[in-house]
């Protein structure tokens, strides 16, 4: 294991991206993710990379499209309102089948909102955000270590499936400092025969484009893309199970909310309440199977979310509403307390 360093979540994303071979970063500053840009600004010039502060989020995501089309590992980062601005470009990346990594360090919303942590972009990032039929692979790290690890995995899967990976973090994850080991494994090189790298007069032109005026062809592209998505749902689901063996109540939470929930679960166990947690690490693909299986064993579910309840819909869908799903939430930049979660666990435990 590599020696540990002390990093902010935002810095861990930036350094892990560099170690994963990313040499192009385009962004526009916004709290609480600005450390990513600041870190890239310091490091990229020293390693022959490109750091460019674009004139806007829209410009930045279009620069990402350019590098991705040319076959480079590329990322951009922003926070909630900035991701809204990037959404058109993300849809174009999907329509062009281009790999890229997009980071969203969420803050309270809607609108300009505030700079405190939030998870209210779940719908935006997991369900699309931009227009058209498409998916992003969405990671929800719950530690600074996972911020680094999921960044590397995000690049890997983006290249493997030719699509956008997103890290859906929040202001707390971005700002908190923890020891992290940047032991990044050797990166697999993916051939990109579709990339626009110059024909050298040896092959036909590659065209990267999301415009398709023949509806039959556009339909086929959508079918092909969804066949790929089905594979991802089968093979790339990540989650953590915590104290689920004998659980009668199942907490579902991701990111920083899952850390708060863990404290509540430990407290509840000390009181004799049989409670565990399924923590989605990928929000898409969502851990449907394990949740559906848990629904046959537990009395009820509790989702802990820093939103007005967004993931709760996916939990209800995954479990086919077989058991009640209670919501424990705060919004607008507030974080639930372990006491609040504990009370909701006890409420769920009382359901018969």
């Amino acid at each position: 294991m590599a020696e540990k360093v002390l990093m902010k979540g935002n810095e861990a994303i930036a350094e892990a991206a560099i170690l994963a071979g990313c040499r192009h970063y385009f962004g526009y500053p916004i709290t609480p993710q600005t450390e990513i840009a600041a870190y890239m600004a310091k490091r990229m010039p020293k390693i022959d990379g490109t750091f460019l502060q674009a004139e806007s989020e829209v410009a930045a995501i279009n620069m990402v499209i350019g590098v991705a089309a040319a076959g480079g590992r590329v990322m951009t980062s922003s926070s909630s309102p900035g991701i809204s601005l990037k959404s058109e470009g993300i849809s174009y990346l999907a329509g062009c089948d281009l790999p890229a990594l997009v980071i969203n360090v969420q803050r309270g919303g809607p609108g300009l909102g505030g700079i405190q942590p939030s998870q209210s972009d779940y719908f935006q990032c997991v369900k699309g955000g931009g227009h058209g039929d498409y998916r992003n692979i969405v990671f929800a790290p719950a530690s600074v270590q996972e911020m680094a690890d999921m960044t590397v995995r995000g690049f890997e899967l983006a290249d493997k499936y030719r699509m956008v990976s997103m890290i859906l973090a929040d202001g707390t994850m971005g700002q908190m400092m923890e020891p992290v080991s940047l032991d990044i494994p050797e990166q697999k090189k993916y051939d990109k025969p579709w990339a626009v790298t110059g024909t050298k007069m040896e092959r036909k032109h590659n065209i990267v484009n999301s415009l398709s005026l023949i509806p039959e062809e556009l339909e086929q592209q959508n079918f092909d893309r969804f066949a790929k998505y089905a594979q991802i749902e089968e093979n790339e689901v990540l989650y953590e199970e915590y104290m689920m063996e004998d659980a009668e109540v199942c907490v579902v939470a991701y990111g920083i909310a899952a850390r708060v929930a863990k404290n509540a679960i430990v407290a509840a166990r000390a009181q004799g309440v049989k409670v565990g947690m399924i923590r989605p690490i990928t929000l898409w693909p969502f851990p449907k199977k394990v949740l559906n299986a848990a629904a046959d064993k537990v009395k009820a579910f509790v989702t802990v979310e820093m939103s007005m309840g967004q993931m709760i819909e996916d939990v209800e869908l995954a479990t086919r509403c077989k058991k009640p799903v209670l919501l424990c939430n705060r919004a607008g930049g507030m974080i639930p307390t372990p006491e609040q979660v504990l009370a909701k666990i006890n409420e769920a435990g009382g359901i018969n």
């Binding site: 540990k4 360093v5 002390l6 990093m7 902010k8 810095e11 350094e15 709290t31 609480p32 450390e35 600041a38 870190y39 310091k42 490091r43 505030g114 700079i115 405190q116 202001g171 707390t172 700002q175 908190m176 400092m177 923890e178 020891p179 940047l182 920083i256 850390r259 708060v260 404290n263 930049g333």
Partner: protein, 224 residues
């Protein structure tokens, strides 16, 4: 360590300046001195001395901070009251400077008065476990940038090398070689070495003269 009237904590982003400043202020107060803490961070809206507002009030330590610190208003502003730090010479002042050279620019406004009074310690906070200040050469480069931005030369080093919640006595001891190199390259003495108030540090009273005095640190934020 003989205290100067003004003690400034500056250094690399995330090196632990705020925690060091807060704990140093309590150390002064415990010696019976009247202390003002001044938050000059205009870079980071989070993790501010204001987190300790309640503890300061209980201990009788005065805090001067932007009314926007730790708020939703991401505004790099300093209050007019900040001038009291240089004008009111009846109180000791502990200044928490923002990270890197960008954070140190705000200090420039007060530099002439601080230099004129000439009763200050400008301390450079270092942590070898931070990735951009892992080697002594990079660390000293950051130091020169801060001096250029603030207009005040450093005259001492605070070795705050730590791995957050995983800090052990070995973590601290492993940083001595690095701290010594920074001291040699910069020609400055190590004035303080910090340790957290974890059980594994109980009984440790110091690491020898070359590592300066020991500053035992209570961490500001509860770890989730």
């Amino acid at each position: 360590m003989k205290h100067k009237r003004v003690t400034l904590f500056a250094g690399h982003y995330g090196s632990g300046k705020t925690n060091a400043a807060v704990n140093y202020a309590f150390a002064l107060k415990n010696e019976g001195l009247e202390v003002t803490v001044a938050d000059l961070d205009t870079v980071n809206p989070y993790f501010r001395t204001k987190d300790s507002e309640k503890d300061f009030a209980e201990a009788g330590i005065k805090l001067i901070a932007s009314e926007f610190a730790n708020s939703n208003v991401d505004l790099p502003a300093l209050p007019a009251e900040m001038y009291n730090v240089v004008f009111d010479k009846s109180r000791y002042a502990v200044l928490d400077i923002g990270g890197d050279d960008r954070g140190a620019f705000a200090l420039g406004r007060y530099t002439p008065s601080i230099l004129e009074e000439n009763d200050y310690d400008m301390l450079f906070v270092i942590n070898c476990y931070r990735p951009l200040s892992k080697n002594p050469e990079d660390t000293v480069e950051i130091m020169r940038e801060i001096e250029a931005a603030s207009g005040i030369p450093f005259n001492g080093i605070v070795n705050n090398s730590n791995l957050g919640p995983e800090t052990t006595p070995e973590t601290v001891k492993d940083s001595f070689e690095y701290a010594k190199s920074v001291a040699r390259l910069s020609g400055l003495p190590i004035k303080l070495t910090t340790v957290p108030d974890f059980p594994c540090f109980e009984g440790i009273e110091g690491f020898g003269e070359e590592n300066g005095e020991l500053l035992k640190m209570k961490l500001q934020k509860k770890i989730i």
